[in-house]
C-alpha cells in the first residue's frame, strides 16, 4: 500500500513538459520589471544591473528630478530667510518639509508623501511616510509607528530612534546584540553596513511563522563620541511591506553637525 501511495503521488503530481520554463519566464519577467529590491540591501551585481537597465534608467531620472525639486524648494526657503540668519542656525530650513519618494513594496512601485522630522535636541533628521505612519516622541525617543493601531493578533510594528550619548557604536551594538540573544531564538551576526545607514546592524527572528517577530537594530555614530540606535520591529510576513518601508525611510536618516 505504501508503494501504491507513492506511485499515486508521483502520478498525480506530474506536470506538463514546458511548465518549468513557463514558470521561469514568468519569474524573470517579474524580476526584470523591478529595480533592485530594497530588502536585498543594495547588493546586486553588474549582471543584475544589466538585466534591470531600463528600470534603473527610470529610477535615475526620478532621482535626478527629485533631487532638483528638493534643491529648488530648499533654495526658495533660503531666499525667504530673514537677512542675517546664520547659515547653520536653523538647519531645518535646508531640508524640504515634505517630499515625494518612490518606494517599492512587494514588487510594486508606489509614490509616498514623506514628511520631515527634525529632532532639535539629538540633531538628526528623517523623512517618514506620513500617509501610513505617525511619529510619536516618548521618553526621549522618536517612535515611528502605524497611524492606525494594528489588530491585537499582529506583533508590534515600529521604528524607534534613540540617542545613546557617550557610548561608541561598536560597544552599543555588542550590548544590544547580547540583549537580543536572551530574548530571541535566532539572532544573526553583527554586520557592518553602508545601507540604509552607515553603521552596524544586527537582526533577530522569533521564529518562522508568518507572525514571528523580527527585530532589526542599526547603530550609527552620532559624531560626538556617542551613537544613535534605530530599532525596527515588525513580523515575518511584513518584511516586504513595513520592513521595506522602514528601510526606505532610513535612507533619509541624517545626523546633523552642531
Amino acid at each position: 500500500m505504501e508503494r501504491n501511495l507513492k506511485d499515486k503521488l508521483l502520478e498525480k503530481s506530474g506536470y506538463a513538459e514546458g511548465t518549468k520554463e513557463e514558470v521561469w519566464d514568468r519569474i524573470e519577467a517579474m524580476l526584470d520589471s523591478e529595480p533592485a529590491a530594497p530588502t536585498r540591501m543594495g547588493t546586486r551585481s553588474q549582471t543584475a544591473r544589466k538585466q534591470t537597465k531600463r528600470s534603473d534608467r527610470t529610477m535615475r531620472t526620478l532621482k535626478i528630478t527629485m533631487g532638483v525639486a528638493v534643491f529648488i524648494m530648499a533654495f526658495g526657503v533660503f531666499l525667504a530667510m530673514p537677512a542675517g540668519t546664520a547659515f547653520m542656525k536653523d538647519v531645518k530650513e535646508w531640508f524640504a518639509p515634505e517630499k515625494k519618494v518612490e518606494v517599492e513594496v512587494e514588487g510594486q512601485k508606489e509614490e509616498t508623501d514623506q514628511k520631515l522630522h527634525q529632532n532639535e535636541e539629538s540633531k538628526y533628521i528623517i523623512y517618514y511616510d506620513q500617509e501610513r505612519y505617525k511619529l510619536v516622541q516618548e521618553n526621549g525617543k522618536d517612535v515611528i509607528t502605524t497611524k492606525e493601531p494594528l489588530p491585537e493578533r499582529y506583533p508590534e510594528v515600529s521604528m524607534t530612534i534613540e540617542q545613546v550619548k557617550d557610548e561608541k557604536p561598536e560597544d552599543v551594538i555588542e550590548r544590544l546584540s547580547g540583549e537580543l540573544a536572551g530574548k530571541y531564538e535566532d539572532v544573526r551576526k553583527v554586520e557592518q553596513v553602508s545601507e540604509p545607514v552607515q553603521g552596524y546592524m544586527v537582526r533577530a527572528l522569533a521564529g518562522k511563522e508568518w507572525d514571528s517577530e523580527v527585530v532589526v537594530i542599526y547603530v550609527v555614530d552620532n559624531q560626538k563620541q556617542g551613537s544613535f540606535t534605530i530599532t525596527e520591529k515588525y513580523f515575518l510576513e511584513a518584511a516586504e511591506g513595513h520592513g521595506a518601508r522602514f528601510h526606505q525611510m532610513l535612507k533619509e536618516f541624517k545626523v546633523l553637525a552642531e
Binding site: 503530481s13 514558470v23 517579474m30 524580476l31 529590491a37 549582471t47 543584475a48 544573526r188 508568518w210
Partner: protein, 174 residues
Amino acid sequence: MDNRLIERILQGDRNAFRSLYDEYFDYAMRTAKLVTKNGEWAKDAVQETFLRVYRNVWQYDGSKPFKPWFYCILLRECYRVMEREKKVVPFGEQLEKIAVEQKLPDVSVDVYEVLQTLDDLYRIPLILKYLHDYSEKEIADMLDVNVNTLKSRLLKGREKMKKGLGGERYGTES
C-alpha cells in the same frame, strides 16, 4: 544547498538563482500541485515562492539547512494562493468531511483520493513522506515541529487513511 550559491544570489547573480531553480523546481512543483490540488495554482505558488526566495534570501541563515526554510515559504505560498482562490475549506468542515466520508470496505477506493480528504495536519506530512521519501527528522524540521509530534501525526494520518480505505491496514507504524 551550497552557501556559495546563496552568497552569489545575494549579490544578484541570476545564473546562481537559475541553478537553485533547477535544483528545487521539481520538488516545489510536485509538492505545490499535491497541496493545492490544482496545476495552475501550483504554478502561481511556485512562481511566488522563488520570487520570495530571491528577494528575501538575506533572511536565510546559512548555518541551518536550506530545505526547511524553502519549504516554509512554499507552503505559505500554497495557502496564500488557495486562500486567494477561496478554495480553502475551513478546518472544522474538513474534519466533518472526513467523518462523513468514511466508507465501507471497497476495493475501488483510491488511496490518493483518501489522502486528499485528510486534514492538512495529516495530509502534508504524508505527502512529504511518500512523495519525497524525507525522513521524519527532515519533515519535522520543515514543518517546524517536534519529531514526536510529527510521528504522532503520521500515525494518526495512517489510521485515518485506513478508515478511509474501509478498514484496510495501511502502511507500517513508525
